[in-house]
Amino acid sequence: MENLLSCILWLPVVGIVAVLCTPKGKDNAVRWISLAVTTITFVLTLVLYCNFDTSMSEMQFAIKVPWIKAFHIFYSLGVDGISLPMIILTSLLFAICIMSSWTITKSVKGYFALLLMLESSVFGVFMSLDFFLFYVYWEIMLLPMFFLIAVWGGENREYAAIKFFLYTFFGSILMLVGMVALYYVTGQSSSSFDILALQGGNFTNEMVSIFGYDFHFNKLFFWFMFIGFAIKVPVFPFHTWLPHAHVQAPTAVSVILAGVLLKMGTYGFLRISFPIFPEASVHYSTAIAVLGVVNVIYGAMCAMAQTDVKKLIAYSSVSHMGFVMLGLAAMTVQGMNGAVLQMFNHGTSTAMMFLLVGILYERSHHRWIIRPDGTKGFGGLFTQLPNYSIIFIIGMFASLGLPGLSGFISEALIFLGIYERFTTITVIAVFGLLLGAAYLLWMFKRMFFGEVIEECKSYTDVNAREIFYMLPLCIAVVVFGVYPTPILDIMRASVGELVTLLSRF
């Protein structure tokens, strides 16, 4: 059991080797190997879930081995209630993405190897308990993303890939500065990179002097970390990489990007920013809430004006991640739990949306709701693709927060959490739900209702493979919408502990 995490972490790496060793031309073997690896990983995460003790808030399955002794860097892994849902989500989405990528024909080997590499690095981020290790995985993750977008993307892929890379890299550099600063302020001791040892708000009295000005250590470096993670979320002024990256990326990468990678930003808040700088977090929670509500409204309004389906959904991700930010700013049990739940639920629902758009794209090779010349890109899909439409309805209503589907509970918990602290902000943010329904339904109306337009008549309905990989997500969306307790139980203790910590400041 001690090595379970390492198994999950390194299994995709084994998969990479296996994929690379496959003889040329055996593309199907590559696909099956990747699928097998991701499926086994998913099963292993389920084993992890079954053996997880939900009553504990501490790290479980922890392992700590020295890595670079000179700098007190450890290979230190562990999961708690915040990271476990993310790990399960990651492994599930990757298995689904492998299935959805079956139709990729351009350098199959490289594509699947990069996907597996991405999976391993994402696991690394969610499991690391050593700040240095966390940072390393955080950076490694950029590499496969860059190539996946730049090689397998749409027509403007280089621009999007470079933009994505530079944006995120800018954030990581600020994070690196913060990490190094922490290393020196803790006296380069054996716990300088230990995330668990750092947390608890030990830096309330430290001051740093930059260019002759004195700053509170924790307030200054809270913002360094904040920007680093906020770019990944993305929070309002740093969000513009997202539409580009989403529109250009291939379907599976969009799914991973929206489903998992955005969560790494908010996970960073929960794992690093809030526990290490609790005082500054509480002090600046209003700012976080304001940024969150701007995200919600701004993202939704931008989404409404889009004529490209994928761009629309990309902006809706901006809007939905704003809810997560609101939940984090609430700093109450319901808000925080809602935020973590929203991270999970957004992962499933938005993954559904991107997969569905990808399925459509494979048939139509364009994504215009309304083309630039004013004609309809799609029309009457409901008549043409009945089964597809039903799945689309489930995904769409989960995304707009219909009760009974997953999005609602997390949003309700977030609102319940934040109302007492920021009433005005809540009143504004609730109207984000309205806008959210508006742009999704408007899109749905324009694409699915009415007579079938001429070019849509050749589209075929979803095939068995597509239904097969949409099914787990549909089930997750419905089941966790009705009965979210399995996930809430995992996270309750860990989130509660974090709230207890924050409430002391």
């Binding site: 513009t240 539409p243 005005t424 739900l433 309205l434 749905f444 209702f449 009415g450 309750r492 509660g496």
Partner: protein, 727 residues
């Protein structure tokens, strides 16, 4: 019956099971699974009837209730308790709602098997119906606002799907989206109310809210901008009602909702779902009072009742007339809430559900039998009908009963409930002690609307069933109606329950003209405003235990003609009611008479009135320009423009200049530095040509991108470094 969640849940679970079965394997079942849905709702009806029997004929006490909860979400950790409960809350009102909803729904299910026959998506229609019934029954059984909200939205979804049922039509898409979005405006407000209440009560259970209202927890709390919390929450809940029950100013969606199949219009957009808003306001009535919102509510109700009735005057589509009459009748219920006529408002909800369902089903029966062989569609336009009573006598009979009921003719249910609302409004606004001058308008509008209602309903009847057939071909193709189980029986059954005697022992419902005596005033006796002081000592009852309340003795309620008022006040009230009853009979018959003159005797020319009030007529045709205001101005001009500007700003300005601009800034800085260098060199060094040439060579070499040059620089730099440090 032992009331636990387990024993009550089947009401909900039967239709739910039907939904699940139909959703997954419905297409493979014989008859596409319609019998599954029908059996589900019939079982549910049986169960509801049993509860109704228990509550109405068993305990016969107005403050008896059953309240059971279980924990749905528990997030408590350490010092932070937080849990969300779900559960059931059954009192007399719930019991009646259950019976009404399941009964009406069962009949509509049966009728649908006639109306939808041959539709390519026959099975799917029943799937939606089952889901909808689940939602409505769940809403009625809910013990807290959050679960009310959940089922409320679920019904919104069903409504969306059913309005968009004929998705080949572009207008169906527009209408369904309009319906969902308009009601969602109210829903969002409702959610805000939940949040506000939660911040004080720590739960949104009805009993907890009553408890906190009784102990005055809402006093002194401020929501935002200095608005008292009670007013804020009450307003927001009422905004939910406005959205769901299509009140002014969010009434626009309901007429468009008639795009859906007629049985679903009957079920959702007339009888049950739209009444959910009123039901919610009734449940939260103590909060409305605490928030001092009643006058506002009365105004909204009166404006809606009157405005919708005027629009209904000129409609030519039979379903549109019924849609506007629905809005108008819902306006009456809201007016009833506003004027404190709790009991009558709820009674009107029930009676309206029955006769409006019947009206819609009758309309469906008419529409279904009128088949245009040129367009292959059903005909809904009244100008093409006429004289149909000979062709379809049973439909005519049912519809006539309902028309009399809705017009407020004595002996019919509409008269009993509407008359009491109008009487209470009269007392509240004009004759009562506490009546202020500004309260006089709602009752006046109410009576005016009653007159208009009688007129336009009779106009509809006369245009449809009387006179000569105006479209001969259509008339000839219409088959003679035969008595059939799934077509006429539901109509006639519903028509039977439009008689007033089922609801009240007296003619006016006030015990004034006693037909059968006090014993049959069960409705007035059983439904009373929630008395919040009863809940002062309330503590939560946990899941699954036996009903502790069974041991508590409740006084059997008796009919009290003076409603607990002092004798003098009761006299005033009764006087007002007598006047009100007289007036409403008068206006009803006046309306019928004028309609008779215009459309049967033809001695009055409707065209004259149209010409005289042509500007108003135009406004009515445009539905008072609300669609124009909302869609063309607010959404197209304002919201979408703002959105487009924002999106253009985001990608075209912010991203292009602020983010990508970083690169340009770098390039410009480089150029500036380069220019500066050249400039300085040009002017300060005498050897201009040489220096320029050298600089050119240098900069070209530096920028060459050639490996060897870089290598050389590397060598030189290393050499320099070594020479510098070691020697």
């Amino acid at each position: 019956m032992d009331y636990t969640i387990g024993t009550v849940a089947p009401i909900l679970l039967f239709p739910l099971a039907a939904f699940v079965i139909n959703a997954f394997i419905g297409r493979k079942l014989p008859r596409q699974g319609d019998w599954v849905s029908i059996i589900g709702i019939l079982l549910s009806f049986g169960w509801s009837a049993r509860i109704f029997n228990d509550f109405v004929f068993g305990h016969y006490s107005s403050d008896y209730y059953v309240h059971k909860v279980f924990t749905w979400i528990d997030l408590s950790y350490g010092d932070f308790p937080f849990q969300i409960d779900l559960g059931i809350y059954i009192d007399n009102m719930t019991a009646m709602m259950l019976l009404m909803v399941s009964g009406v729904a069962a009949l509509i299910h049966i009728f649908s098997s006639f109306y939808m026959k041959g539709d390519p998506r026959y099975g799917r229609f029943f799937t939606y119906l089952s889901l909808f019934t689940t939602g409505m029954l769940g809403l009625v059984l809910s013990e807290n606002l959050l679960s009310v909200f959940i089922f409320w939205e679920l019904m919104g979804f069903c409504s969306y799907s059913l309005i968009g049922f004929y998705y080949e039509k572009e207008e169906a898409g527009n209408a369904s989206m309009k319906a969902f979005m308009t009601t969602r405006v109210g829903d969002v407000c409702f959610l805000l109310a939940i949040l506000g209440i939660w911040s004080v009560v720590g739960s949104v259970s009805f009993v907890d809210i009553y408890n906190h209202l009784a102990s005055g927890a809402f006093e002194g709390q401020v929501a935002i901008l200095g608005i008292p919390l009670a007013s804020f929450c009450a307003f927001m809940i009422f905004a939910g009602t406005i959205g769901k029950s299509a009140q002014f100013p969010l009434q626009v969606w309901l007429p468009d909702a008639m795009m859906g199949p007629t049985p679903c219009s009957a079920l959702i957009h007339a009888a049950t779902m739209v009444a959910a808003g009123v039901y919610l306001s009734l449940r939260m009535y103590p909060l409305m009072e605490a928030g001092h919102l009643t006058t506002f509510i009365a105004y909204i109700g009166a404006i809606t009742a009157f405005g919708a009735a005027t629009i209904a005057l000129i409609q030519t589509d039979i379903k549109a007339v019924l849609a506007y009459s629905t809005i108008s009748q819902l306006g009456y219920m809201v007016l009833g809430i506003g004027v404190g006529s709790y009991n009558a408002a709820f009674m009107h909800l029930i009676t309206h559900a029955v006769f409006k369902a019947c009206l819609f089903l009758s309309a469906g029966s008419v529409i279904h039998s009128l088949h245009d062989h040129h367009t292959h569609g059903h005909v809904q336009e009244m100008p093409r009908m006429g004289g149909l009573r000979k062709k379809m006598p049973y439909t005519f009979l049912a519809m006539a009963c309902c028309t009399l009921a809705i017009s407020g003719v004595p002996f019919f249910s509409g008269f009993v409930s509407k008359d009491r609302i109008l009487g209470d409004a009269l007392y509240w606004g004009i004759t009562g002690h506490h009546a202020h001058w500004y309260q006089a308008i709602p009752p006046i509008l109410g009576f005016a609307a009653a007159f208009l209602t009688a007129f336009y309903m009779c106009r509809m009847m006369f245009l449809t069933f009387f006179g000569e057939p105006r479209d001969k071909e259509l008339y000839e193709h219409c088959h003679k109606e035969k008595l059939s189980l799934n077509r006429n029986i539901p109509l006639l059954l519903l028509a039977v329950f439009t008689l007033g005697v089922w609801y009240s022992g007296s003619l006016t419902g006030q015990g004034k003209v006693k037909v059968a005596g006090d014993r049959y005033e069960w409705f007035s006796t059983l439904i009373e405003k929630p008395n919040t002081s009863n809940f002062r000592e309330y503590t939560k009852e946990p899941f699954g235990l036996k009903d502790t309340r069974g041991t508590v003795h409740f006084e059997k309620s008796h009919y009290d003609p003076s409603h607990g008022l002092s004798e003098e006040e009761a006299h005033h009230v009764h006087t007002a009611h007598n006047i009100g009853a007289g007036l409403s009979i008068l206006v009803a018959f006046l309306g019928i008479f004028i309609a008779f003159l215009m459309y049967i005797r033809k001695s009055m020319d409707p065209g004259f009135w149209v010409r005289t009030f042509h500007r108003w007529n135009k406004a009515l045709k445009e539905k008072y320009y609300f669609d124009h205001l909302y869609i063309d101005v607010l959404i197209q001009k304002v919201l979408l423009t703002v959105n487009r500007l924002l999106a253009a700003f985001d990608m075209g300005v912010y991203d292009r200049f602020a983010i990508d601009g970083m690169a340009s800034v770098n390039r410009w800085l480089y150029k500036a530095a380069n220019f500066f260098d050249n400039f300085i060199v040009d002017n300060s060094v005498d050897l201009t040509g040489v220096s320029v040439k050298f600089l050119n060579v240098a900069s070209r070499t530096v920028q060459s991108g050639k490996v060897q040059f870089y290598f050389m620089v590397l060598i030189l730099a290393v050499s320099f470094y070594i020479l510098k440090i070691s020697f």
